[in-house]
């Protein structure tokens, strides 16, 4: 899809996913890292052997990218970066607003000379506004975006997902902004700035909740209380061996699933008398309060607790009710549906003489595949190749290496 588009990826881990997705779409993504290696080449390591080349975060999130080293803090590095920009369509970066321009290598400094350039800046709060230079990692962005306050239990602190969801949302959001800017350039001939705010991106996980609150202050969602099974939009139930998700919402699109589950319970002889005769067509969850839900919760809860996640899910698939297991990585890796769609692909690690599975891509496309094009780069793996394409003479590259501007593998 994006063949012929060259992208310079200067991001830290908050933005790795953006370039990964664009690379999976066929763009030539060149990941820049300091000559000493990127700080995100950290634990956990493949085989638990401490080595920046075995960082699983790096290997997972920088697929479909080539890799070069460059010290942007060095005057000659900044100069060389300017030459790279001249041959690029897109720059992706996650520095604090103003930081690159102080060195003459930011959007403000470069876009006039490169009118076709698309520049994507991913920051916690965006490049404008009173919080533009505020610091924030994933947790701060989730907190400021409104999702943390409503996640967790009422008797404990609000929580965020244990993996970085603001980064997970920000990556595809930034990639989308870049794709839009590239689409616009087809007709205008001009590039533009894509100014991503992780806070705003995170706000959208509440699916208009903050805006609904303005209409109805009772919609200021709360964290769940122990004993609750009903949450705002999700219900998690204990099973014999783990947890499943099942909702008690009605409406035309959901009532058949409540009927299907009830039918199974009746077949098993485990539906209470009242439930056996229940007329689901009259069910409206909006008319029930906590007490009103209780008999449903007790009947379904008892049924679920006697069964395994696997049995419940197999029946959900066959009988078409909306129950899903709360899968962990192992269960996802073994999932028959994902396997049948070739969702996992094997990536070769030639220098380690092994191969590892990875999620293949975010979608299937009929014309030109979306998916991993190459493994993540080793430190400086494509220095010679990329600087060669740029026309940097061998002598100059050698001198840059001696000065530590580009990694010197022999040093």
């Amino acid at each position: 899809m994006l063949q012929g588009i060259r992208i310079l990826d200067l991001t830290d881990e908050s933005g790795f996913l953006a370039g990964k997705a664009l690379g999976d779409m066929g763009a030539d993504v060149i990941k820049l890292e300091p000559p000493a290696g990127d700080p995100a080449r950290r634990a956990p390591y493949l085989g638990e052997i401490e080595d920046p080349e075995r960082s699983l975060l790096w290997l997972a999130m920088n697929t479909s990218k080539r890799g070069i080293t460059l010290d942007l803090g060095h005057a000659r590095g900044a100069e060389l970066f300017g030459e790279l920009v001249a041959g690029a369509d897109v720059v992706l970066e996650t520095s604090r607003p103003g930081e690159l321009d102080e060195r003459g290598i930011g959007w403000e400094s470069l876009h006039a000379a490169h009118p076709r350039l698309v520049w994507c800046s991913i920051t916690p709060f965006g490049r404008t506004g009173p919080y533009a230079t505020y610091r924030g990692g994933d947790l701060v962005c989730v907190a400021m975006g409104g999702n943390q306050q409503v996640t967790g239990w009422h008797d404990r602190a609000p929580i965020a997902c244990s993996m970085p969801t603001a980064y997970y949302h920000g990556g595809p959001e930034a990639a989308l902004g870049v794709a839009m800017a590239l689409f616009a350039r087809l007709s205008t001939g001009r590039g533009q700035l894509v100014d991503v705010s992780l806070q705003e991106t995170q706000l959208q996980t509440s699916l208009s909740g903050p805006a609904q609150y303005a209409l109805d202050p009772s919609r200021n969602a709360e964290r769940r209380r122990p004993g609750d099974r009903m949450g705002l939009s999700r219900e998690i139930w204990k099973t014999a061996d783990g947890y499943v998700s099942y909702g008690l919402r009605g409406g035309a699109s959901r009532i058949p699933n409540l009927v299907a589950l009830t039918k199974w319970m009746v077949e098993c002889g485990e539906a209470p008398d009242w439930l056996r005769d229940y007329d689901w067509s009259r069910y409206n969850h909006n008319l029930l309060d906590r007490e009103g839900f209780r008999p449903f919760e007790e009947a379904f809860g008892a049924f679920f607790e006697k069964r395994s996640m696997r049995e419940l899910y197999a029946n959900a698939v066959e009988r078409r009710f909306f129950l899903a297991p709360c899968n962990d990585a192992r269960e996802i890796a073994e999932h028959v549906q994902l396997r049948s769609r070739d969702f996992f692909t094997t990536v070769e690690y030639d220098w380690l003489d092994l191969a590892l599975e990875h999620p293949r891509g975010f979608a299937h496309a009929s014309e030109d595949g979306i998916g991993i094009r190459r493994r993540a780069p080793r430190i400086g793996e494509h220095d010679g190749e990329v600087y060669g394409e740029l026309g940097v003479a061998a002598e100059r590259l050698a001198s840059l290496r001696r000065e530590g501007v580009v990694r010197d593998a022999d040093a």
Binding site: L56, A160, C161, A184, D195, L207, Y213, G251, A329, P359
Partner: protein
């Protein structure tokens, strides 16, 4: 072509013609990105089977019926609505006429309906070879569980986000909102824009088969690689992070008020110590390294929480940010309404809804420097644009329209 009574803002997608079929968030939020940038998005709906968001909070006393759902209105701004009953062959026939007109068709039905309508990709490609069609159901168009029905709550469970969100000593809480409903639309829109860029080169459209669950698992590629490489099953750990301490939400003055603080390196920890006035407990050598703070995290959190509980969260955020500490108030929906950053970036746009009054419409998480986002209207009244589409877009005669009306196709 005449637009209806509203003026569409110019944008990246001005002139782009989009059909939307389906419901909920995963498809509709994807086309919202297009509508926000000027695309003409026409939703094919029917009062016989309304979008479930239109009825989610419906009770017998609801004043505005299918037009009373703020969530529907907020997730579908800037779009048009036609009412076609696709259970009738003539309804399908007009829908196919619209496919001839369209650049993009985005749908997120569970597999089945599009085939039954005779509107699967092979059929539509015959009608319009330049069409870009995206399907975005929960589990994809192929595989043994393709018919598995589900909404976002199931996606969050299946893709591992429930397992990854919560306290280690309790049942998972799952992330608030439904993670697949906020992740998948970004990827749907990204794939659509990628296909449009490719179409400029090839002249051909293409088909995108996207599974919401796969987009979520793809985003957590690092979690999956940790499993494939080391057999590690990443699990939930409250707010804690293996590479940062302190890293959590800490109590503030007032009821259920919190601040998120995340010190990812020694400089940030030193900045926090200074901001606290370097109390005695901080100088204990056991807190002098990340390893030490991780090993003594309960005590660290208790001491820090005792300090934060004397402050209002926003005031404390200002203090800590000024000192160089990544910190942010844990904002509830009320706080988001007063957030000066969101206001400065015009994250919300106010538009009048015919039944609900002024509504806040949320923008994408990025700004394009040459194309500010704009929605002409909130989500459409069901069927509001049927006659405009039939007359002005498709050029049907008054007799044909009268005949469709008489046969109750336009409902």
């Amino acid at each position: 072509m005449q637009t209806p009574s509203i003026d569409l803002a110019p944008g990246v997608f001005s002139g782009l013609k989009v059909i939307e079929m389906g419901s909920g968030a995963a498809g509709p939020v994807a086309t919202r990105y297009l509508a926000e940038q000027g695309a003409t998005v026409i939703r094919i709906e029917s009062s016989k089977r309304p979008d479930f968001l239109r009825v989610l909070w419906l009770t017998p006393d609801s004043k505005h019926g299918l037009e009373g759902s703020p969530m529907f209105a907020m997730l579908n701004p800037g779009k048009h609505s036609v009412a076609f009953d696709l259970k009738q062959p003539r309804g399908v026939a007009v829908a196919k006429r619209l496919v001839e007109w369209a650049d993009v068709l985005c749908e997120n039905f569970a597999p089945g309906p599009m085939e039954r309508f005779g509107m699967s990709w092979p059929a539509l490609r015959e009608i319009n070879p330049r069409l870009v069609m995206a399907s975005g159901c929960l589990f994809g168009q192929t595989g043994p569980h393709r018919g598995y029905p589900g909404f976002g709550a199931q996606g969050s469970a299946l893709s591992g986000f429930n397992h990854l969100t919560g306290w280690p000593d309790r049942a998972s809480t799952g992330p608030s909102g439904t993670i697949t409903d906020s992740l998948a639309p970004r990827y749907v829109a990204l794939a659509i824009v990628g296909a449009l860029i490719e179409r400029e080169r090839t002249g051909r459209g293409q088909y995108i088969d996207l599974a919401q669950v796969e987009t979520a698992v793809y985003s957590t590629s690092d979690v999956m690689l940790r499993y494939f490489a080391n057999g590690e099953v990443v699990t939930r750990d409250g707010n804690r992070n293996p590479h940062a301490a302190p890293h959590g939400a800490f109590p503030c003055a007032g009821q259920d008020r919190w601040i998120a603080i995340a010190c990812g390196n020694e400089a940030e920890w030193a900045a926090l110590r200074r901001a606290m006035g370097d109390p005695d407990w901080c100088s204990d050598p056991k807190f002098g390294s990340i390893e030490g703070r991780k090993a003594n995290e309960d005590e660290l959190e208790q001491q820090l929480g005792a300090w934060t509980s004397g402050f209002e969260p926003h005031a404390l955020m200002e203090t800590l940010q000024a000192a160089g500490v990544p910190a942010g108030a844990v904002q509830d929906f009320e706080a988001l309404q007063h957030d000066p950053q969101l206001a400065a970036r015009r994250h919300f746009q106010l538009r009048e809804h015919p039944a609900l009054g002024p509504l806040q419409l949320e923008h994408a998480g990025f700004r394009l420097s040459d194309s500010p986002p704009d929605y002409a209207t909130p989500g459409p009244v069901l069927g509001a644009h049927t006659s405009w589409v039939l007359r002005d877009v498709l050029g049907l005669s008054e007799d044909e329209i009268a005949s469709l009306e008489a046969d109750e196709v336009l409902v």
